[in-house]
């Protein structure tokens, strides 16, 4: 279904202009925050803005109501230009209860708009939120524009204003509060209600009374702002100049799933995806299990080890075997991945990084699995590692990971993270025909080629279609004779094979296009990044250059092997800054490989970098 863009709801009040706005919705886990956040983002996109979103929710399915631990948040930036991060400070915070206020008000800019539901500031509410005094009454919020709303009362009034198609309980009525709030926000930022009205119909269509109640609440919120005397004004953000074409929303996990499907289609192979659920990777399994009509098989394994082994078995049998997991699962899969390296099986391992160590912060983002991806297996066990920089970029990154896995007959790790996985952005839908081809040639007949024979360019060994008469052979994890593939304990052979495995992966540099440098090709500072830090780094680098500083940016897709021209590039700058959401993992590799004193900038809070944090680091290094 494709739908045209929509226009702003007409208002009678004066409207200001802004180039971008950052909004934060916050409430209880059960308050439907993710729904209205997503819906608001969608509306912005339909109105032609670029957006970046950042859902931020607790690890519990439903943490105790009213507590800070239970706060669910949704941050979103929309603008009339390319938007790269969810934004540093918020222009507006919608806080549906005191806990949400307490937990998130730190991020609101001075003079920012603060919408609070005054009906939720009773004594018990304050206690649950661990407020000693009522923040609405002490002067702690003086530096914000406060917009107090009796959200609960007003919602009820709107919902039960006239009879509904069927009776609804008070509790059910109260559940519509989020849409009342959304209605307000739509008014405030001149957003159309249409996409949301459509959404409500589609979602609650089967229960007309609920749909009607939510629609009433949504409209009431809008009308409330239009009519209220409260001193707040509406802003408008005009449409961004986006490349023309067909767009859709996409999260990183969706893009990852689509990238795998695309690889299967282009390679003419079935996808065999085996996985064990784990936050924040589970959605990839959910997505893929809905693409069976594109020759995708999915299996929920008994654990991560089995998932990896099933995927390898799938590749052995001629499919593109893949699996997805997060940190703890990566640890568990390493032994199997090691077998895939040894037996040269094309497998894609998606790792959606989250806060560690151990169970850590399962719903928060981090980039601390890079070294584990590259070095986390016993023995010399090299494999390619690839990362994506934005949610939609997961599509091409996964595709590229698959292409390399197939071409080089090797497991490839694709590194995503919690921020990419759950973050959404508008995506100019690429055409299938523009994808680079994937040659998934398998040996399907006896033609003089031996199962262990290698491609002279890639060093990839044959991918024998098992079941083919005359090609019967055995593979395994013991060291293999470099020629015949039979077990070999010969010392020289082992050294040769070890070098061969390394050379094969190192040889993938030939796949890497020349490195793109944003900014000057030599100068004072190069910011080198990888993964989801892209947006923040680009914004900060752009700002620095706009301020006349000699700052360039390189963002890596290939982490192993590194691009062949990287060493030369690095040497052209006086300083190199490497921002990472870890304690300096890419830094370690770059320092070791190029023997340069690259500066790490580390943040390890389960939250993406803000632009300001990177700007500050630039300023410190350049003075």
């Amino acid at each position: 279904m494709s739908s045209a863009s929509v226009l702003a709801q007409p208002t009678k009040k004066p409207v200001g202009q802004r180039t971008d706005v950052v909004i934060y919705f916050a409430g209880d886990s059960g308050d439907g925050i993710q729904a209205i956040g997503g819906q608001f983002g969608h509306t912005c996109v339909r109105m032609g803005n670029d957006i970046v979103t950042f859902p931020d929710f607790p690890a519990e399915i439903r943490a105790p109501a009213g507590t800070k631990a239970g706060v669910s948040g949704y941050q979103l930036q929309f603008g009339n230009h390319e938007v790269l991060t969810p934004g540093d400070g918020y222009d507006a915070l919608i806080a549906l209860n005191p806990a949400a206020l307490q937990a998130r008000v730190k991020g609101l800019k001075d003079n920012g708009l603060l919408i609070v539901n005054t009906d939720k500031f009773g004594e018990l509410d304050l206690k649950k939120a661990q407020c000693k005094t009522n923040p609405l009454e002490d002067s702690s919020l003086d530096r914000y524009q406060m917009f107090k709303v009796e959200l609960t009362r007003l919602t009820r009034a709107a919902v039960f204003e006239s009879p509904l198609p069927a009776p609804l309980s008070n509790r059910e009525g109260d559940r519509c509060q989020n849409f009342f709030a959304l209605g307000m926000v739509c008014w405030l930022f001149g957003r159309s209600l249409d996409p949301t009205l459509q959404y409500i119909d589609a979602k609650f269509g089967k229960r007309a009374e609920i749909a009607e109640a939510n629609k009433r609440a949504l409209k009431a919120g809008w009308v409330y702002c239009e009519n209220t005397d409260a001193y707040v004004s509406s802003f408008e953000v005009t449409a961004a100049k986006m490349a023309p074409g067909l767009y859709r929303h996409i999260t990183g996990n969706q893009a990852t799933a689509l990238g795998l499907v695309a690889a299967g289609q282009k390679a003419g192979l079935p996808i065999f995806f085996a996985s064990y659920p784990i936050t924040p990777a589970s959605d990839i399994l959910h997505q893929l299990s809905r693409y069976k009509n594109l020759n995708v098989m999915t299996a929920q394994a008994e654990d991560e080890i089995a998932a990896a082994c099933m995927a390898i078995g799938g590749s052995y049998a001629g499919a593109l075997g893949c699996t997805a997991t997060s940190g703890p699962g990566l640890d568990l899969k390493q032994e199997a991945i090691s077998l895939a390296v040894s037996t040269e099986m094309p497998v894609v391992i998606v790792v959606v990084q989250r806060g560690g160590p151990s169970t850590g912060l399962p719903t928060k983002t981090e980039q601390a699995d890079l070294l584990a991806a590259i070095f986390g297996r016993h023995g010399e066990c090299p494999l390619p590692v690839i990362a994506a920089s934005t949610p939609s970029d997961c599509y091409m990154a996964t595709y590229e990971a698959s292409r390399i896995a197939i071409k080089y007959r090797t497991p490839v790790i694709f590194l995503s993270d919690g921020y990419l996985a759950n973050g959404a952005e508008p995506w100019l839908i690429p055409a299938a025909k523009d994808l680079p081809p994937i040659n998934a040639k398998q040996l399907v007949e006896v033609n003089g080629v031996k199962p262990f024979q290698r491609d002279t360019e890639t060093q990839a060994r044959q991918w024998v279609r098992i079941g083919t008469p005359g090609l019967e052979h055995r593979v395994g994890g013991l060291e293999k004779d470099i020629g015949s593939g039979n077990i070999s304990y010969d010392p020289d052979n082992h050294e040769n094979m070890t070098h061969l495995r390394k050379a094969k992966v190192d040889g993938i540099v030939r796949e890497i296009p020349p490195t793109v440098i944003a900014g000057p090709t030599s100068g004072d500072l190069l910011i080198l990044g990888w993964g989801s830090t892209y947006g923040a780094i680009k914004s900060a680098a752009d700002l620095a250059r706009a301020a006349g500083k000699s700052v360039a940016q390189v963002h890596l897709r290939y982490l192993n092997p590194l691009p062949p021209d990287l060493g030369d590039i690095l040497k052209r700058y006086k300083k190199v800054l490497i921002p990472e959401m870890n304690l300096g993992q890419l830094s370690l590799i770059v320092r070791a490989k190029y023997v340069i004193p690259a500066q790490p900038l580390n943040k390890i809070k389960g939250q993406p970098f803000t632009i300001t944090e990177i700007t500050n680091a630039i300023d410190t290094l350049l003075t």
Partner: protein, 346 residues
């Protein structure tokens, strides 16, 4: 059907020899594994399946070297995980005949979880578990089937573990085919392998195997010609459970318990003797509990079989159904990329 297909050659009749690979067999002289290997080669030659359609998957252990010696496709994987590899293989190429060669340590210690999940899913694989009640390859530690109190390299004062009963475990997870045979009874072994190959679904076959280096004689009383008639009971569906050199001893039910009776001594009549019925789960469970340590003979042969959809069939059928119900139009990839809500920027 999955997209992965190979074209079978018109298969000429093969012999054992055709199933011998060019690799030297590297078990200790006298190891029970040799007999199992030879019988398997023989059975395969008798089956109506082209050689290239067989895949042997294994974990790690002496027994897991098996695939190297079979002139079929073979995958020597990692310790304990063969069932998971086999599941992947079966989903992608369901028409292959997939065998798992595994040991008591590989299958039941590190690999216990994958085994039980493969069995309950009824993945169509034939699992040959070489039970020598010891870790051979790592030189003689006790295994999950070793009797408690056993003195081994790792238990100089005796093992503190109560052993697993592989057949009771398999029945407990609703395996659809559960059998037992012996390395030293070639004919019985051959038959049992044959039955397992014919079964559609997971077949679990425990093969009592002698490790003459680290646990010599473990099964001797069941394999030795002199004692075997009294210590084992070969199950044959529809036949009464008789044993003994003159087949005049048998098993009878008393309450929920099995009891050995001597027909010659008049302890019971032929009608009292239970008739073997491999479709009766409760009976199979009772038979599986016979340890061979007390007076009851150890049952060998097929204890239980039933039929149930195979996992990979469902996996493949869902793909087929999805392709029928939602046939991709145009370039299918473009189709899904553009599915859902989209909008045009002009």
């Amino acid at each position: 059907m999955s997209a992965i297909q190979t074209v079978p050659l018109s298969s000429k009749k093969l012999t054992n020899k055709d199933y011998e690979s060019d690799q030297e067999v590297r078990w200790c002289p006298g190891c029970g594994d040799y007999a199992i290997l030879r019988q398997t080669q023989k059975v395969l030659a008798e089956l109506d399946i082209p050689r290239e359609k067989h895949v042997f998957v294994s974990g790690i252990g002496c027994s897991s070297r098996f695939p190297y010696y079979m002139n079929t496709y073979g995958f020597h994987t990692i310790h304990g995980r063969a069932p998971a590899f086999a599941t992947g293989i079966k989903c992608v190429q369901p028409d292959l005949t997939v065998w798992i060669a595994t040991g008591d340590g590989d299958a039941l210690s590190i690999g216990g979880n994958h085994l039980i999940h493969a069995l309950r899913r009824n993945v169509d694989v034939k699992i040959l578990m070489f039970n020598n009640r010891i870790y051979g390859l790592t030189k003689g530690q006790y295994s999950p089937t070793s009797e408690s109190g056993k003195h081994t390299a790792s238990t100089p004062m005796g093992s503190p573990d109560h052993p697993l009963n592989p057949l009771a475990l398999a029945l407990g997870v609703e395996a659809t085919f559960v059998a037992r045979s012996l390395d030293r009874d070639l004919q019985h072994l051959g038959q049992t392998l044959h039955h397992s190959a014919k079964h559609k679904g997971s077949a679990f076959v425990e093969i009592l195997q002698n490790c003459n280096v680290f646990n010599d004689g473990e099964w001797e009383k069941f394999t030795d010609k002199a004692t075997k008639p009294m210590t084992t009971l070969a199950l044959e569906d529809g036949k009464p459970m008789l044993y003994g050199p003159n087949k005049d001893k048998g098993l009878r039910v008393k309450g929920f318990k099995l009891e050995a009776v001597d027909l010659a001594k008049g302890e019971a009549k032929l009608e009292d003797i239970i008739v073997a019925d491999s479709t009766d789960l409760a009976l199979a469970e009772m038979l599986a509990r016979i340890s061979g340590k007390d007076s009851l003979p150890l049952p060998i042969g097929v204890l239980y079989r039933t039929s149930r959809t195979c996992y990979e069939n469902d996996v493949v059928a869902q793909v087929q159904k999805a392709r029928q119900d939602k046939p991709p139009k145009g370039d299918p990839l473009d189709g899904i990329l553009r599915a859902g809500e989209t909008w045009v920027v002009a």
